[in-house]
Symmetry: none
Subunit: 400 residues, 2 copies
């Protein structure tokens, strides 16, 4: 992202405080009655702030591109999600609150089913229960390989995290997951010389896993993909001079916060806990990322009424947050999750920014259609943090 | 700017005339009554043209970035302000109408105060009166160094311009201004070998200046910063095939015009003089940049009523300009200068383009909120000249 090259010299520090209140999967599509979830929800607090602030529609990655959680959040914090690619393995580690260290190689694993000839018949082993997955992970911990430490952590159902720790590892290893059935798991091939030893380690791990799981059913083999190491990402402090704190109930979002050098604060799923955490940390940081999950999960479930209720619960925490007196208050999402699609989508996300230096627009409610007429128009999500810094008086004039 | 790479082959010349009427610091923020300066001003002529033309909001550098005068104007003429960085010294020279030549090294100077140990106690020497600054500059002219010619030109108060002219100079010299008090002026260090001799010249100049000013009070030393030479910028003629003329009352804007290869025309501060100058040069050029200053200076003063009056005076010159029959008439600013902030700001600038090939939009008044709904939407300012060229029939079809 070109803007970063000239941002550094104009960054200023002050005591102004910025809040990013993020409703995961905020944007939606109409249900019956031609209203989106956000338009159907009763959100008097957000509507009032929309009337005072500036609104718009922002694109997390690019128009038409549906972001995963990683890219969606990177964009929020101004990190170009295309430039900063976070591998599946690292995201898994972040999502488990696994304390990944520099140089660790992480991969996403699947328990799968192979037939008597070793051909994959089910890439997900019939989605075995999470408890079963945990039990199998414990068995795989028996594998010990010279010179490296291995971690096998269960995720949901058939999914697990593999982490290889040791000196001189490389992450340029091809997936062993063939992505189709009827073939054998692929051999672990290095994409460059520096990853040759790591590929051999992965290959031996896979073979030993096959031996250990031989008599299991249906999960009698493993597939691995998305080998990666912690990316080199400048922290929010280095990049923006922001002393930042991420507040989230789900490990994935604490993980992303940690990746960007934020302090992290663990909270429960109850929305009011976000406000409580914010209040208790208010004096300690100048940037707060508050993550609200329920809007996304109800969207993924395709439950329109549940998403409407989640949005209404989200709206109710706004007054408590405003009482703290943030200098810049931003409300948006990391992507859209329309109930109609039961998944993340590419639709741009409503954004609302409120500060004394806001140029008001004609928008009086916070919704997708209303924000089409907002003062920000439509722009890439990576601009949002720059705008927040500007409104916080944290950017000096560019050039004389 | 990427677009330039394919622009050259499609540039066409014809007899169509383009006017850029620029109100410096045009954009604003609401005062009491929630109207911006431009929304509060009575501007019947601009409103009428807004109703006939196409409008929008343009970003001078990038969303959230506050431009200085240099970057703001470069963007207007389609020169990417990040790619074309103009140093402080060169801008000072432009602002004084100093005829800087290729290879001259220019720096912004401050008279400052140092104590008996040579430590800086006031970087601006108590902002000495402009007359005093001029007197001290005359004294510094006594300094003579072998092989180079020196120019010391007073600016406002404690500020001056230093120009070093001679063969084989380099501008990669670090500032001697430490930007803080309590320390000595920094030695002039070269950033590369080709600037080593220049750095020595600067060092000797600084030492001699200290001797000459020793008994002065409070201005007994000099600080220098922003060493630079005239940048290599293709002219408007080379780049767009435009025979261009800049009309401005302030030297800075004539200087920027000259930098881009425009002819320059000096006028008085009275708005009607812009129209007079335009009329007298009408047959001689095909692109006119007319600069109106008062909107920016009243914004910097934070005087809402004065900015409203400046905008109304600006509006009154529009009919006289339209009488000349420009083929493309553009009205905008180089950046926003809201009275609320008393400074330049990052807010996008209203743009109005009027020509027979305009696609009309629903906008009927010229104001920030109205332009949010304009036919151009929001875009980078560097697009504006391309749009003007298109409407002037000066761009051929791209590709077969």
């Amino acid at each position: 992202m070109e803007i970063q090259s000239f941002l550094k010299p104009i960054i200023r520090r002050n005591d102004k405080k910025i809040i990013f209140l993020i409703a995961d999967g905020l944007g939606g599509l109409p249900g019956e009655g031609r209203k989106t979830e956000l338009e159907a929800a009763d959100t008097p607090n957000l509507d009032r702030i929309a009337g005072l602030g500036t609104t718009g529609l922002f694109h997390p990655v690019a128009p038409g591109i549906t972001p995963g959680s990683g890219p969606g959040h990177l964009g929020l914090f101004g990190y170009d999600p295309v430039e900063h690619d976070i591998g599946r393995g690292v995201l898994s580690a972040l999502g488990l609150d696994f304390n990944l260290r520099k140089g660790d190689v992480a991969a996403r694993g699947n328990f799968c089913t192979v037939d008597e000839n070793g051909l994959v018949t089910d890439r997900r082993a019939g989605r075995i229960p999470t408890e079963k997955g945990a039990e199998l992970c414990a068995k795989l911990l028996r594998i010990s390989l010279e010179g490296v430490e291995l971690f096998v952590e269960p995720e949901k159902e058939h999914r697990f995290l593999l982490v290889i720790r040791g000196p001189g590892l490389g992450h340029e290893v091809e997936d062993t997951d063939p992505q189709i059935t009827g073939v054998k798991p692929l051999p672990a091939r290095p994409r460059e010389d520096g990853s040759a030893r790591t590929a051999r380690i992965v290959q031996v791990f896979t073979e030993r896993a096959g031996e250990i799981l031989r008599d299991e059913s249906p999960a009698n083999m493993v597939l691995l993909r998305g080998f990666d190491t912690l990316p080199e990402i400048p922290s929010m402090e280095e990049r923006y001079g922001l002393h930042a704190c991420g507040i989230a109930a789900y490990p994935m979002y604490r993980g992303i916060s940690r990746l960007l050098g934020m302090a992290v604060k663990n909270v429960g799923a109850e929305p009011a806990e976000l406000v409580e955490a914010l209040r208790s940390e208010w004096e300690n940081y100048d940037f707060f990322f508050c993550h609200f999950k329920k809007t996304d999960s109800s969207g993924e479930d395709g439950d329109f009424d549940a998403k409407v209720r989640a949005l209404e619960a989200f709206d109710r925490i706004v007054p408590g947050i405003l009482e703290l007196g943030p200098d810049v208050f931003v409300v948006t999402g990391d992507h859209s999750t329309p109930c109609f699609l039961k998944s993340h989508s590419w639709h741009p996300v409503p954004v609302l920014l409120f500060s004394p230096t806001c140029r008001p627009d004609d928008v009086q409610t916070f919704g997708e259609r209303a924000c089409t007429h907002g003062g920000f128009g439509q722009m890439p999500m990576t601009n949002l943090i720059i705008l927040a810094l500007a409104h916080a008086g944290r950017l000096a004039k560019y050039g004389a």
